[in-house]
């Protein structure tokens, strides 16, 4: 019995599933991380993922090719990022309430539009989603090939987001400005940089990443759009950002660890389903996220200006 539980780890399918499950979490976590490093908590994440999933899928269903679908998802995410930034950065509204409002709004308007475009559907319509790419040599490797080199282009794109965000945050003047905007916005203002602009742009880029995380669900992991399919992944990403101490490399680690546990949980469920009801396995990701937040709660690396709106020309 115990042997069965360990055997899962040497199963290439388990590792392949881990990679697949990690993708949407990774994109969403990196997106949230961008926003928070700029000082803006984006709780619109759950809704932005949902509308990204819907728009990307619908674009392809309406006849666009897959890459256009991905672009469309990123654009709708960016648009909602702009709305969130408009509220929190320019108007200085509560980041908590705005985020919840954006989540409610993005998901409900997404469902509304989906129903308008596809009024009657007894069985969910499907698209031809991204297919695994065959990489010469690598895909044929025993074990490693199946685990890591038989994935879709979208999967590799998701993992390429890590070096992209690392480069953006640590190697460019813009990334430096983002970090300063989240730490002490006056330091930007005093150097003549538009704090609100930097924050807004960071939120837009971050929200586009979140939307891609959602689109991964409908365009690579599955091939259909369901209501409620994001199912809390956005909230889990918010917890992962804290777990990752706001660092992109640790976000990758966190997403993989989390996805690994999730993939393991599905297999353990098959082995132990008779004894432990499936609902308890499904609870694991949410409970683990709470645990991850508690573990990381003592971290002092949080951006010091997180949640604090910046207003020019106001007396401090």
């Amino acid at each position: 019995m115990i042997f069965d539980f360990l055997e899962v780890l040497v199963n290439a399918g388990f590792w392949a599933a881990t990679i697949r499950i990690a993708c949407p979490l990774l994109l969403a976590t990196l997106g949230e991380l961008m926003c928070e490093r700029a000082g803006v908590l984006n709780l619109g994440i759950e809704g932005i993922m949902s509308i990204g999933a819907m728009v990307g899928w619908t674009a392809v269903y309406m006849g666009a090719d897959l890459s256009t679908g991905v672009m469309a998802a990123a654009l709708i995410g960016a648009a909602f990022g702009l709305v969130h930034a408009g509220f929190t950065v320019y108007l200085g509204a509560s980041q908590h309430v705005t985020g919840i409002g954006i989540t409610l709004f993005a998901s409900s308007i997404g469902y509304f539009a989906f129903r308008l475009l596809l009024p009657s559907s007894t069985t969910p319509p499907k698209i031809t989603a991204f297919q695994p790419i065959d990489i010469p040599v690598l895909s044929d490797l025993p074990f490693l090939g199946e685990a890591f080199f038989q994935h879709t282009a979208f999967t590799y794109l998701a993992f390429l987001a890590v070096p992209f965000v690392l480069w953006l945050m640590n190697r460019t003047p813009f990334g430096l400005a983002v970090k300063v905007a989240g730490e002490n916005p006056m330091a930007l203002e005093a150097q003549g940089i538009d704090v609100l602009g930097v924050r807004t742009l960071a939120v837009i880029i971050g929200s586009a990443l979140m939307a891609l995380g959602g689109a991964y669900l409908t365009m690579s992991a599955f091939d259909a759009f369901y209501f409620g399919m994001v199912n809390g992944r956005g909230w889990i990403a918010v917890a992962l950002v804290i777990f990752a101490s706001w660092r992109p490399s640790k976000a990758l680690l966190g997403a993989l660890l989390f996805a690994g546990l999730d993939a393991y949980q599905v297999r353990a469920q098959q082995l132990a389903g008779a004894i432990v009801p499936y609902q308890f396995f499904l609870m694991m990701p949410y409970l683990l996220s709470i645990v991850a937040m508690v573990v990381a709660a003592k971290s002092t690396r949080y951006p010091k200006a997180l949640l604090t709106p910046f207003r020019r020309g106001e007396r401090h």
């Binding site: 430096l176 970090k179 300063v180 002490n184 003549g192 940089i193 002092t300 010091k304 020309g313």
Partner: protein, 506 residues
């Protein structure tokens, strides 16, 4: 040749407050212009307008003959203006080099280049005697180092006119002298400098010309060489306000004693307390001096029940404190005037009367049956507190955030002193207040002392400490010196001690 900076007819108001009225002046290359005035006179507002943080309602700023674009710090920087703000504008989680690079390269460049910057930083540091480690993290630097970095940032941007806003506010006397040396070097290399201060002595030492602001208006402009100290002093304040004088008074039994107090290392870069012993008697004002961040805040927290020591004893009126909560200390007779009166003192969005009775939620006179608030009694109590302490307001129902800094502080002191406290912990009680309010605060503290209360006065303002304290301790890196009597103090020694002289090697 046109002057380096020409400011003409600046006017700015915030709501009903006139911060600047029709201010004009010029600065030339190679001179130090001092802008003198008490807190709230409009000095910082004026500088923020020149640098583009604020939009003036009227008036222009010209740099080397060309008018600056209004409300744009970038325009000021490009024109060669650099500003060192009183509250440093540094990102604490980044390195010195990264902080220097902010805003120096286009945001759209794909790569941040650092090599040239590092070389330039070294050259500048060497040229002006501003030693710094480019790879050090800002959150591990002292106040003096942070200030050097701020000046280097402006020099890095090829600044020709440097604005220093209250640069010596939290420096030791020795660090201030180092700063003045660097200023001299900059001026001799052709820079113009504007220095803002309310400290007369320093200004006379460093400046070439002085402009005095009062209530937003220019009230005087003199060459430092011709300046008369007494005359300047009167110009700053307007009418003659004298601060109260401490007279000798009787001391009673110890009210509060700390024995070998240690506190946990805090996550911020502020020092934790190490083996502090302190006794404050009734009728005594104990002054605590030190450079900011050397444990004064932790000391205030332990004395007021806001912080729990990891070891050691707090003894209040002979009884060892068992419970460390603000409430239990309040019940034992402690009153705590926190440093940040806007965030830790008042609830800005509650009314004046609600703030006046905020400490009285356990007061049986003000709370009726079923824990109902007796509103009319609360209001009359609040009115009494306000009139006794000269708190001025339009309506007792207006939100407290609309009060001026001085009135907020008088309200806070009033509500605490209405409890007849026996132990008073006051942190920077007069920081940012105008002269009238400062003398009011000082009078209250001295009155409490003659009434037999024990007062712990924590301040970075040496003049205040020397004027009010009976005894003084110096704090450095969480250690406290032995208390010594005020009359035996010499400022140079005090300054050396604030810089760590005489404390054990750590």
């Amino acid at each position: 040749m046109s002057p380096l900076l020409e400011v003409s007819n600046i006017r700015k108001s915030f709501g009903s407050l006139h911060a600047n009225r029709d201010i004009s002046f010029t600065v030339n290359a190679g001179e130090v212009l001092a802008i003198l005035g008490e807190n709230g006179a409009g000095k910082t507002t004026l500088m923020n307008i020149i640098f583009g943080h604020y939009l003036a309602d009227e008036g222009t700023v010209q740099c080397a003959g060309r008018e600056l674009r209004r409300g744009d710090p970038r325009a000021a920087i490009d024109a060669g203006i650099g500003m060192v703000h009183q509250h440093f504008t540094l990102a604490e989680n980044l390195t010195v080099l990264e902080n220097t690079l902010i805003g120096t390269q286009s945001l759209w460049r794909p790569m941040l280049s650092t090599g040239d910057a590092r070389r330039k930083l070294f050259t500048l540091a060497d040229q002006f005697g501003l030693e710094i480690n480019p790879d050090g993290y800002v959150n591990q630097m002292s106040v003096g180092e942070k200030q050097r970095l701020e000046i280097l940032k402006t020099l890095f941007n090829d600044c020709r006119l440097l604005i220093l806003d209250e640069p010596t506010a939290s420096l030791t006397p020795q660090e201030s002298n180092g700063l003045f040396k660097s200023i001299r070097k900059m001026v001799s290399s052709g820079l113009g400098v504007i220095i803002i201060s309310h400290k007369l002595n320093e200004i006379i030492k460093i400046s070439d010309r002085i402009i005095v602001l009062r209530a937003g208006e220019t009230v005087g402009s003199v060459r430092t060489a011709d300046a008369n100290k007494r005359q300047l002093g009167e110009m700053i304040v307007g009418q003659k306000i004298s601060r109260p004088v401490r007279r000798s008074s009787r001391m009673f039994a110890p009210k509060i004693e700390l024995e070998n107090i240690c506190t946990r290392k805090s996550k911020s870069q502020v020092a934790n307390l190490k083996n502090i012993d302190l006794t404050v008697r009734g009728g005594e004002i104990m002054g605590v001096v030190g450079v900011a961040g050397n444990g004064q805040q932790s000391l205030a927290e332990v004395l007021s029940g806001h912080g729990r020591p990891t070891s050691g004893k707090v003894i209040i009126k002979g009884v060892k404190a068992l419970e460390y909560t603000p409430m239990s200390f309040m019940e034992a007779g402690v009153a705590y005037i926190p440093e940040d009166r806007n965030n830790d003192g008042i609830v800005g969005d509650m009314s004046v009367w609600e703030n006046a009775v905020l400490t009285e939620t356990g007061n049986a006179d003000l709370v009726g049956r079923m824990a109902m608030v007796r509103t009319s009694r609360c209001r009359s109590t609040a009115e009494k507190i306000c009139s006794a302490n000269d708190v001025r307001f339009q309506s007792i129902n207006q939100p407290a955030r609309l009060l001026s800094g001085g009135n907020i502080q008088k309200l806070l002191i009033g509500r605490w002193f209405a409890r007849a406290p026996e132990i008073i912990v006051a942190c920077q009680p007069s920081r940012g207040l105008d002269e009238g309010a400062i003398s009011g605060v000082h009078r209250s503290l001295l009155a409490a002392r003659s009434g037999g209360a024990a007062v712990v006065l924590i301040s970075e303002d040496l003049d205040e400490i020397l004027a009010l304290s009976d005894n003084i301790i110096v704090m450095y890196d969480g250690y406290g010196s032995a208390a010594f009597e005020n009359r035996n103090v010499d400022i140079a020694t005090l300054g050396m001690m604030m810089a760590g002289d005489g404390f054990h090697a750590v």
